[in-house]
Amino acid sequence: MSAGTHAPAGTEAARTALARRYGRLLLAYPRDYRRRHGPELLATLLETSEPGRALPSWTESAGLVRGGLRTRATVAARGSPWRDGLHLGVLVVASANLALLLPYARSMPLWVGLSAAVVLAVLLGRVRLAIPLVALVGAKAVAVALGRPFLDQTLLPIFPDEIWGGPALYSEGGAVTPAVAYAAVLAGLLVIAADDAPLNRRSWLWWALVPLIAGTDPAQPDLGAGSPRTMTRIGLELALLLLAAWAGHVAGDPRWALAAGMYLLTQMAAVAENLSTFTRQDLAHFALLAFLTLVAAAVPYRTRTQPQF
């Protein structure tokens, strides 16, 4: 075996390791894109790498992650932006509604289960199945907020399970906020159901968002206290809104802004209902959400009127 025709074993091993690591970074791209162009990208990555390198460079890694996310946004921006954006918004608010009930799962397992069924039906694009379910869970949520019985006997107040902690369900604030949150989902589903065209199936990763929201003061974030849970909630909101603005900028598409707008609507209801007890921090928080939603709505317009390659 001559050194001129065969690479040294160490170089070959490094190249194999590099190919494996670049393969992992290529997971940033959508599956279909990877199937069609993954081998070509990998070949180019290996061709441009210096011999003996086993770890991807920071520049190439960042380029692949950015390129993958950008491709995902572009691929996701197919079909009607209005209907798909509404579907996404319904999923966000339905997930937030489930997250709010999740800490009370032991006390009201049936309703938490039905709320999870709403999220599952929305995820799968089974809109007509989700409509009666969300109406039922919404009516129960409003009944609990009003302190009235509805269908089954629920002992009030409902305290959260030990691992979650926090106040009793709907003990802070009134019935308007939950009513608007469920009405928004119901109205969105009714509009979507007016068209028979199939909806995009959403990623199962959405389930991961539910316990994340549930662990971050989903009912009444206490901004004045600035607890780690509340700060995590604000961080999560800002990250998702910035992602929506970025995706709208990349794809020149308003669907993410529409979804952000639906979430903002539920926050507006909370502001309106609790205006008398709102602090400056609460208003600043809402103003920030509204500003980022407006940015998310404006950037697709700018991308469309001034395209940049």
Binding site: E40, L41, T44, T48, E60, G63, R70, T305, P307, F309
Partner: protein
């Protein structure tokens, strides 16, 4: 409605400009575009692979380049990209625009004359 808005002429980012410039001499595959871009920019613009293919996808979607052919060389798939007439026109217009803009300064500093007619 976003579809009916009046569009301004598209602008070119630096990577897109150099990719189009690299294709002026004929069709090239991804790796060759990176090499040619590096050469044209005097080693200044080194396109990461993710950035290159993202730009190629956008330029192809915008009709500025097209896939000329696909080949498999030593088991490695390759797409060769070529410039379309629209792409050639845009990169030429961008080069003239930059030349005119540069002449505003160079005509005064170096006394080379303005590129504006």
């Amino acid at each position: 409605m976003v579809g009916g808005m009046a569009k301004k002429p598209p602008t070119l980012s630096e990577p897109a400009y150099f990719i189009l410039a690299a294709l002026l001499d004929g069709p090239l595959h991804g790796h060759a575009i990176i090499g040619r871009t590096l050469e044209l920019s005097e080693q200044r613009v080194k396109l990461p692979v993710g950035t290159l293919y993202g730009a190629l996808d956008r330029l192809a979607a915008g009709g500025l380049i097209a896939v000329e052919r696909e080949e498999v060389v030593d088991g490695r798939p390759r797409r060769y990209f070529r410039l379309t007439d629209e792409g050639r026109g845009l990169v030429t217009a961008e080069a003239l625009r930059m030349q005119q803009a540069a002449s505003v300064v160079t005509s005064r500093v170096l006394g080379t004359g303005s590129a504006f007619a």
